[in-house]
Symmetry: C2
Subunit: 591 residues, 2 copies
């Protein structure tokens, strides 16, 4: 009896000391910094408690990826010690410490694929003495919730610097778009496995879930394929700039541990100059100068330096493709498979005599060339489909003005998805109105390499008298895409409700003509974070108004946390601006 | 006798084995990669020898900075092991190894200041068995020659990988412009001492010789001044984001060891918001919003967020300025002293009642405001001059349309230099035609921060429907300044021969609103290298033709060497381009 009374008194004391005084009149919710911003966040009173030194996360232990994530977040949360740029104004209880975060997963069997449920509900009791609960439909939702929880922890307190966590908090969260990705081109320049893993880590912090790996291109073929190792032996930049099957397995497993899918792209039939080292006979115009002197742009051999396209009329092409596809589907478990299909250039194919003979049967060369592409796709896509993969192609196969598939039975919508890169929202419309699912990567908004000039040498456009209009610095897709441009882009702009259903999501893309490991982090972050929030919880507030203004302060805070976690994201403002919220705004509408 | 014969035979053998076969018909000189390209380089035959394992550099030991440089290069040369992207085609002798580089300096007393002789002559004998000689007028020229020598060493050889050095080489080199600089803004965001030292190292590799340290601005005051420590205590970003006198001394000595001058800039009277923490009474409009709602641009308080200007009518202003100047001239030995003077904004001064009263005496507010600037300069410049310093001001004090010095006796040309940033070559012309010396930093070419958007928050210009013209991404000075734009800029364009004499040189500038240590290296390099060569040996070949085409391949090589040396310079092309010289060029003139 006495024990009961004593315990009751203890609990009462705990409840009382955790029962805080006056509530805050201002929007204290704004002082919580989670990126992407959760869909729904209730925090009635600005109160926080201390994270116990014994804090543990409890989860079902029979899902290895969830266990890996939980263990990882446990370490991160207790070691990160993030000091916010602006201290949240909270009332802190020092008596009740949060000891446990309990993870509950409804369906442990749901696999990581497009459209898997990523929602979660996170509740931290007001008393702080209870157990915080993270409930999710799947382990992947649980991972999203773990990331959110980690961002709620900060170092603060007036008397002692402690790890604090808000209490009386209720978050419900779920993404608007299921496909939230990042493309990395590892062919124009090479990135080590460590760089890729670090990128996937940062993606998971931003709740990005698709790593679109543009592995090969004309400039190098770094992937060491078991059934055709010559492709990498002859086509890579060197033995220390390759990816072995073990590297691939490591990256994929790392992806699973982080809730990030890895979608391989083996671009073809164009962008295959690097295949010519191993198989010279199947690559047309390999090693030829990309745009010969005294020829028109229309007669170029490639859209940029580095020529070479697979010959759809050479039988060996399909022997090689079959081996490549077989290895890829074996190495990469994701149900999506990216086949490329962009920038097929007439001038390259027409260097081949067999193709010339073939084309002579056509009154219009364009028809013949389009037929060649159709032959290529008809000879490769079914094989990919037979492995239960959905194929992604770049928009060109449908939308190119010169070479495209005319007979759309070649591209069954149930087995193919088209990824945009030109024409902004117009091309999105063209694709979905044709009944195809789409992934949006409009260069005008999502190409992270734009605005840095072009890499082409001997370019006289830079040699003009002072005062000449510099245009956009020579980049084909300039200007530079600022985080604000990315954040404000509505990828379903101008679509009907039905058409919007076919937009799976979007991807930012880092093409590597002028990027490699020295600039990887700063070129990606925090601009990819802008897409991450726009596709997770949108770019509008609860009233439907664009929220880029308040996003600035939150992105500042988020950028500093990412840097502290080891990713060299670039700064978006002077530190002074973060410390003086609102003072670096403009209150004038820009023209 | 036998001994003589034997010795003679030995020498003959050495001479014979070092006497190489056929000469190379092509321009083998192009395979030597030195950046900046030396003015004169003679290499009759493409021959190289091995750098001896006992290789030493001998120099006069009584000049501590030369000794430091020599010791540094000795270590670098023997440890760098640079493998070129394209192997130079040379005939290598394995019998005679180069053992000694002898440094000869004509005048060991010449101090590091503007216009000091930086020429050098480097000869490596054809036999390779002798002594290479580096002769220079001053130790600073010797340092330039040491850097050149280090870039001539590479790892090569067919049978064994050895350190090779070309022989039969004769280089004469000297800079076109004496002032070749780089500005770093350490106020908008902070950089640690290590970052500054690394930058100075990289500058010396590029033969850049002026580190223009824009230490303070409205956003932070990081410099801990002995006679007024409160400025930093109250105005810095924090105790771990300051520069102590010891830090400054370390940076300056490091500069001397690298032949790099350190010129301090304490910007005033504008850009002084950060002074208000320590001295609120002397800073007008401190802490006020930079551009109030419903006011015109002409009525803004500052040109960017972060307001505050020193009050020329407050007596305490000059008490503080005197202490600041006194400390600066004591800490910084360079004969040049940068006082800033840019972007003085009417709207900030006119918030002050005393200034309002002062201006009421003028029929034109502009006259009164200009007079205020004149008062400020008349009250500060003579004190700087009395310390035997030459003052540098931004062009605004002469050229601003609103607030400028009317009575030019305030700015005696023998004591003042004006630095450009607006109006490209036009403002250069305006300055030198007025009889002033100038340093060129035209934003249109040399501002490295341009093209990354702007840092201002709540900026609606980014929230426009897809398809809206993105302009130059919102950056006031966009687009991004590519290395080619920088390389091709002729800073004396349109000047008469007499006027050209007044152009001391130029500086690239990294303003840090959106830059900090995570992006420092990639934002600076290799674009600053482009200025480095254009100002050292120019941007034209021996026939007077612009040489940006061949510069691309050399810059690629140079960028990889800098990365290997520890500076994370950004890439300018795919590695494939460097490995396949010419294949990434365009042979079409751009419109």
């Amino acid at each position: 009896m006495i024990r009961v009374i004593f315990t009751t008194i203890l609990y009462l004391q705990c409840w009382m000391c955790c029962c805080f005084a006056k509530s805050h009149p201002h929007s204290h919710v704004e002082s919580l910094n989670v990126w992407p911003k959760p869909v729904k966040l209730w925090w009635a009173h600005p109160k926080a408690t201390i994270l116990s030194a014994d804090f543990t996360i409890k989860c079902p232990r029979n899902h290895p990826h969830l266990v890996a994530a939980t263990d990882r977040y446990q370490i991160l949360i207790k070691s990160e010690h993030h000091v916010p740029l602006v201290n949240p104004e909270v009332v802190v209880s020092t008596s009740c410490h949060l000891k446990v975060l309990q993870i509950k997963v409804a369906d442990l069997t749901a696999s990581l694929q497009h459209g898997v449920d990523e929602s979660y509900n996170l509740t931290i009791p007001a008393s702080g003495a209870g157990t915080a609960v993270l409930a999710a439909k799947t382990v992947w939702g649980a991972m999203r919730g773990l990331e959110t929880f980690s961002q709620l922890v900060w170092v603060g307190g007036t008397q002692f610097q402690r790890l604090l966590i808000p209490v009386g908090l209720d978050i419900w969260d779920s993404p608007i778009f299921a496909h939230r990705g990042l493309l990395l081109d590892t062919s124009r320049n090479y990135y080590g496995v460590k760089d890729i893993l670090r990128t996937i880590s940062a993606m998971s912090w931003n709740k990005l879930n698709v790593f679109h790996w543009h592995i090969t291109d004309s400039h190098s073929f770094p992937l060491l394929l078991p059934s055709d190792p010559d492709l990498a032996i002859k086509g890579s930049y060197g033995p220390f700039m390759q990816y072995t099957p073990a590297d691939v397995a490591e990256i994929i497993q790392f992806g699973f541990d982080h809730g990030v899918r890895v979608i391989p792209e083996i671009d073809s039939p164009a962008h295959t100059g690097s295949w010519a080292g191993a198989h010279p006979e199947i690559v047309t115009c390999a090693g030829m100068f990309w745009w010969p002197a005294e020829s028109e742009w229309a007669d170029r051999l490639a859209s940029e330096p580095g020529s070479g396209q697979l010959n759809p009329l050479h039988p060996k092409t399909y022997q090689v493709m079959k081996k490549v596809i077989k290895d890829i589907v074996s190495l990469f478990p994701d149900p999506f498979y990216h086949s490329g299909g962009d920038e097929v250039i007439p001038g390259c194919w027409t260097t081949d005599p067999i193709i010339q003979a073939f084309l002579s049967n056509y009154s219009s060369a364009h028809n013949g060339l389009s037929h060649l592409l159709q032959i290529f796709i008809n000879s490769t896509l079914p094989y990919v489909t037979s492995h239960n993969k959905t194929s992604i192609y770049w928009e060109d196969v449908l939308l190119d003005s010169t070479i495209k598939v005319e007979d759309l039975s070649t591209l069954p919508p149930e087995h193919t998805i088209l990824q945009t890169w030109n024409g902004g929202s117009q091309n999105t419309k063209r694709i979905v109105s044709s009944g195809y699912r789409t992934i949006v990567s409009s260069a005008d908004y999502y190409y992270l390499d734009c605005g840095h000039g072009s890499f082409v040498g001997n370019d006289s456009q830079y040699n003009r008298p002072p005062g000449t209009d510099q245009g956009n610095g020579g980049s084909w897709c300039g200007p530079f895409k600022t985080w604000q441009l990315i954040y404000n882009y509505d990828i379903t702009y101008g679509l009907t409700q039905e058409e919007k259903k076919l937009v799976l999501g979007g991807e930012v893309a880092l093409w590597s003509e002028q990027a490699d490991p020295t600039v990887l982090d700063s070129r990606l972050w925090p601009r990819a974070s802008a897409l991450a929030e726009a596709l997770w919880s949108g770019n509008r507030d609860d009233t439907g108004k664009k929220r880029y203004a308040e996003a600035t302060d939150r992105l500042n805070e988020w950028r500093y946390r990412m840097v502290r976690r080891g990713v060299r994201a670039e700064p978006i403002q002077p530190l002074w601006c973060a410390r003086n919220p609102g003072m670096c705004n403009t209150v004038h509408a820009s023209g």
